[in-house]
C-alpha cells in the first residue's frame, strides 16, 4: 500500500509537471507558426551561457542603422552599452559614462536629445550624452502610429522577453517574411505593419579593433552581412537589452548553488549525527 501511494504520488507529480510543460510548449508555439520557427543554438542559453560580445556590437549596429528609425529602446540609456556584460564594456572604464565608445555613440546618435535652454526654457535639441536615454524617433505615440499604418512600432527594450522563447521568436520573425509579399510574415501567419527589413549587405559591418596586451591593435574581420547574420546579431543584442544582467546572475548563481549544495551536505550529516541514537 505504501508503495502504491508513493507510486501514485510520483505519478501525480509527473502529471503535474507534464501539464506544466504542456502549457509552456503550447505557449511557446502560440507565438507563431511552428513550421516557420527557427531554432538557433544561442551561446547565451544554458547554465554558463554568455553573450557573444562581437555579435552584440554588430547587433547594435543593425539596431542603430535599421531598427532605430522606428523602434525605441526606452528603458535603455547609452551608458548601459558600456556596462559590465554590455557590448562596449571596457575594463579601463568601470564607469561607462567615461567610455569613449559610449560617448561617441551618444554624441553621434541620429536622433537628437530634446532638452530645454536653461536660460529661456525654450526647446533646445542637443547631442546625446552617455547618461541620456535612447531617444524616441517620434515626438509622440500618435505620430508614431500615424507614420506606420496606424500601429506605433513597439519598444524593443524587453521584446526578447515579451514573447515566449523570445530570441528564436525574434529571429524567426525577422526571417519569416514571404518572398513575394514583403508585408506578409509567414512565421506570424499574418500581414504586419513592418515590411521586411533585412536584405544581404544592408549593413556594412565595421571591422572590430581589439587592443592586444602589448598595445598593438588586432583587427577582427566581421562576417558577411547576410540576412541571417544580421537577424542573428540583432537578436543577440536585443536579448542583452532585455536581460542585461544575465551573465552576472548566472555566475552568482553557480556560486550560490555550490554553496547551498555543500551546506545541504553538512546539514545532512549534522542531522544524521543528532539523530543517530533515535529510531524514527
Amino acid at each position: 500500500m505504501r508503495l502504491t501511494f508513493k507510486t501514485a504520488l510520483v505519478a501525480a507529480t509527473a502529471l503535474g509537471l507534464a501539464a506544466f510543460a504542456g502549457v509552456k510548449v503550447a505557449e511557446a508555439a502560440g507565438g507563431g507558426d511552428a513550421k516557420y520557427k527557427k531554432q538557433v543554438e544561442w551561446g547565451f542559453n544554458g547554465f554558463t551561457g554568455k553573450y557573444d560580445r562581437h555579435a552584440m556590437q554588430r547587433g547594435y549596429q543593425v539596431y542603430q542603422e535599421v531598427c532605430s528609425s522606428c523602434h525605441q529602446l526606452k528603458f535603455m540609456s547609452f551608458r548601459h552599452l558600456g556596462d559590465k556584460g554590455g557590448p562596449f564594456y571596457d575594463k579601463k572604464y568601470p564607469n561607462p559614462i567615461d567610455n569613449p565608445v559610449v560617448k561617441y555613440i551618444a554624441k553621434n546618435y541620429p536622433v537628437p536629445i530634446q532638452d530645454i535652454d536653461w536660460d529661456t526654457g525654450e526647446d533646445l535639441p542637443r547631442d546625446g550624452k552617455p547618461v541620456d536615454k535612447f531617444p524616441s524617433p517620434y515626438p509622440n505615440s500618435v505620430a508614431a502610429a500615424a507614420a506606420n499604418f496606424g500601429k506605433a512600432p513597439p519598444d524593443l527594450s524587453v521584446m526578447a522577453k515579451a514573447r515566449p522563447d523570445g530570441a528564436n521568436h525574434i529571429y524567426s520573425f525577422l526571417l519569416g517574411y514571404d518572398k513575394d509579399d514583403n508585408m506578409y510574415n509567414k512565421f506570424l501567419g499574418t500581414k504586419v505593419a513592418m515590411p521586411d527589413q533585412l536584405f544581404d549587405g544592408k549593413v556594412d559591418y565595421e571591422v572590430i579593433k581589439v587592443q592586444n596586451k602589448d598595445g598593438s591593435v588586432k583587427e577582427i574581420q566581421p562576417p558577411e552581412a547576410t540576412r541571417e547574420q544580421m537577424a542573428k546579431d540583432v537578436t543577440e543584442f536585443l536579448m542583452w537589452t532585455a536581460d542585461p544582467k544575465m551573465e552576472a546572475r548566472k555566475s552568482l548563481g553557480l556560486s550560490v548553488m555550490i554553496y547551498l549544495l555543500i551546506l545541504a551536505g553538512l546539514l545532512f550529516f549534522a542531522y544524521r549525527e543528532v539523530w543517530r541514537n533515535v529510531k524514527h
Partner: protein, 425 residues
C-alpha cells in the same frame, strides 16, 4: 506558549529581572524544548520552509517598495529600472517574483500534508482554520502584487477578476467600482492595490503567530495520527527538528535558487513584459499557475454568479473540513479506502490546474477524429470530484470504512511493534 512544563531557569540578574516582567527569553527557550512527536517526516518541514518564504517576501518586498512607484505612467518602467539600475535589483526583483511561486508551492505541500494525515481533526481545528485564513490572505496578496508590475497580464488579470464582483446581486456594479476606484482598472486601482499589497503580508505574519500558538497549544499531529502518550514518544524541538528543518530548508533553497538564477521567467507569463494597454486584450488571459485550479472551477459553469460562488465555495469548504470528515482516525495510513480517494483528489487537483491553463473549447482527451472530451467538460467533472471529495466522500467514508488497527503508541509504531498498519518510516 503552553503545552509543556517550562524548564527555563534564568541565570543572571538581568535575565531574572526580565523573566519577572516580560518572559520573552522563557518563551524562546520553551519553544526550543517543545516536545515534538519523534516520528515527524519530511512533510512536516514545510512549516519552517513557509516561515522562511514569508520572511523572504517581506524583506525583498520592502526593498522593492523603496524603489517602486505605484503610478500607471511609470510602474512598468520602474520595474525595469529596478532590474537595470538599482544595485542588486536584478537579484531582488526575481527573488520576490519567484518567491511568490515558491511560497505557493510550499503552502500546497503543507496543505496536502494536513489533508493526508488528518491534521485538521480535533483538537486541531483552529490550527487548520487559521491556516485557511493565511492561505486566503496569501491569495489576495499574490493577486494584488501581480498587478503592480503593470504588464498586460497584470492589467487584464485584475480586470477579469474584478469583473467577477459585478456578479454579486444588487450591489455588484457599485461594489466593483468601489473596489477599483473607478469604472475600470486604472491609477486609483494600482494605488490601492499597492497599499493593500504592502499591508497584507503583515496581517499574514500576525495570523502565522496565532497559527503557531494554536499548534503549540494543541500539539503537533504526526504521521500515525495518535497523540504522544509518554516521554518516549516525543523529542525536544531543538536540536532534533531544528537540524532536520534546516536541512530541508536548504534543499528547498536549492530549488528556489535554481529558478531565480537560471529560469527567473519560467513561472511567469511572457505577456507581462508588455506594458499594460487597456486597448489591447491579450489572446489568452491566464492567472499565475497557483490560481489555475480555482480559475478552472470559476469557468466550469456558464453563469458568472454561479462560477464565483463555486470558486468561493471551493475555499470555504476547507474551513468546515474538520466537521465534514467524520472519521476518528486521523492518518490516511490507516484508512485504506479513503487513501485512494485522497490520491484521486491529488491527481484531480493537477487536472484542474491543467484545465485552468487551457482554452475551454480545446480537446483535452481525444476520442476519435475531431471529437473528445474538451477542457470545459473535463473541468466540470474535476470540479464535481473536488466538491464530492469534501462533501460526500469524507463524510460517508468516515461512517462506512473500517480503519486498520492503530498502533499502541508512536514509539511502538516507530520500533515496528505489534501493529500491522503502521508502515511508518
Amino acid at each position: 506558549m503552553s503545552g509543556h512544563l517550562s524548564t527555563y531557569e534564568p541565570k543572571y540578574g538581568v535575565t531574572k529581572w526580565l523573566d519577572k516582567r516580560l518572559p520573552i527569553i522563557r518563551m524562546g527557550a520553551d519553544f526550543m524544548t517543545y516536545p515534538s512527536p519523534r516520528n515527524l517526516n519530511y512533510w512536516w518541514t514545510f512549516g519552517g520552509i513557509l516561515t522562511l518564504c514569508l520572511m523572504v517576501q517581506i524583506i525583498t518586498g520592502v526593498i522593492l517598495a523603496m524603489h517602486y512607484t505605484a503610478n500607471v505612467d511609470v510602474a512598468f518602467a520602474d520595474v525595469q529600472r529596478i532590474r537595470r539600475d538599482v544595485p542588486f535589483g536584478w537579484l531582488i526583483q526575481p527573488m520576490h517574483a519567484v518567491g511568490a511561486a515558491m511560497f505557493f508551492f510550499a503552502v500546497y505541500v503543507h496543505m496536502f500534508r494536513g489533508l493526508y494525515y488528518g491534521s485538521y481533526k480535533a483538537p486541531r481545528e483552529m490550527i487548520w482554520i487559521l491556516g485557511c485564513i493565511i492561505y486566503l490572505i496569501m491569495m489576495a496578496t499574490a493577486f494584488l502584487g501581480y498587478t503592480l508590475p503593470w504588464g498586460q497580464m497584470s492589467f487584464w488579470g485584475a480586470t477579469v477578476i474584478s469583473n467577477f464582483f459585478t456578479a454579486v446581486p444588487f450591489v455588484g456594479d457599485s461594489l466593483q467600482q468601489w473596489i477599483l476606484g473607478g469604472y475600470s482598472v486604472d491609477n486609483p486601482t494600482l494605488n490601492r492595490f499597492f497599499a493593500l499589497h504592502f499591508l497584507l503580508p503583515f496581517v499574514i505574519a500576525a495570523v502565522v503567530g496565532l497559527h503557531v500558538w494554536a499548534m503549540h497549544h494543541a500539539g503537533q499531529n504526526n504521521p500515525v495520527g495518535i497523540e504522544p502518550k509518554s516521554k518516549e514518544d516525543t523529542l525536544a524541538f531543538h536540536p532534533y527538528y531544528t537540524v532536520k528543518d534546516a536541512f530541508a530548508v536548504v534543499v528547498f533553497l536549492l530549488i528556489f535558487a535554481f529558478f531565480i538564477f537560471y529560469y527567473p521567467d519560467a513561472l511567469g507569463h511572457a505577456d507581462n513584459y508588455i506594458e499594460a494597454d487597456p486597448l489591447a486584450t491579450p489572446a489568452h488571459i491566464v492567472p499565475e499557475w497557483y490560481f489555475l485550479p480555482f480559475y478552472a472551477i470559476l469557468r466550469a459553469v456558464p453563469d458568472k454568479l454561479m462560477g464565483l460562488l463555486l470558486m468561493v465555495g471551493a475555499i470555504a469548504v476547507l474551513f468546515i473540513l474538520p466537521w465534514l470528515d467524520t472519521s476518528k482516525v486521523r492518518s490516511m495510513r490507516f484508512r485504506p479506502v479513503t487513501r485512494i480517494w485522497f490520491i484521486l483528489f491529488l491527481i484531480n487537483s493537477f487536472i484542474l490546474g491543467w484545465c485552468g491553463a487551457a482554452t475551454p473549447s480545446d480537446i483535452a482527451i481525444p476520442m476519435g477524429e475531431d471529437k473528445g472530451l474538451n477542457f470545459l467538460w473535463l473541468s466540470r467533472i474535476s470540479t464535481l470530484y473536488y466538491f464530492a471529495y469534501f462533501l460526500l466522500i469524507l463524510p460517508i467514508m468516515g461512517m462506512i470504512e473500517k480503519p486498520k488497527e492503530l498502533p499502541e503508541s508512536i514509539t511502538k509504531s516507530v520500533l515496528g511493534g505489534a501493529s500491522s498498519g503502521g508502515a511508518a518510516s
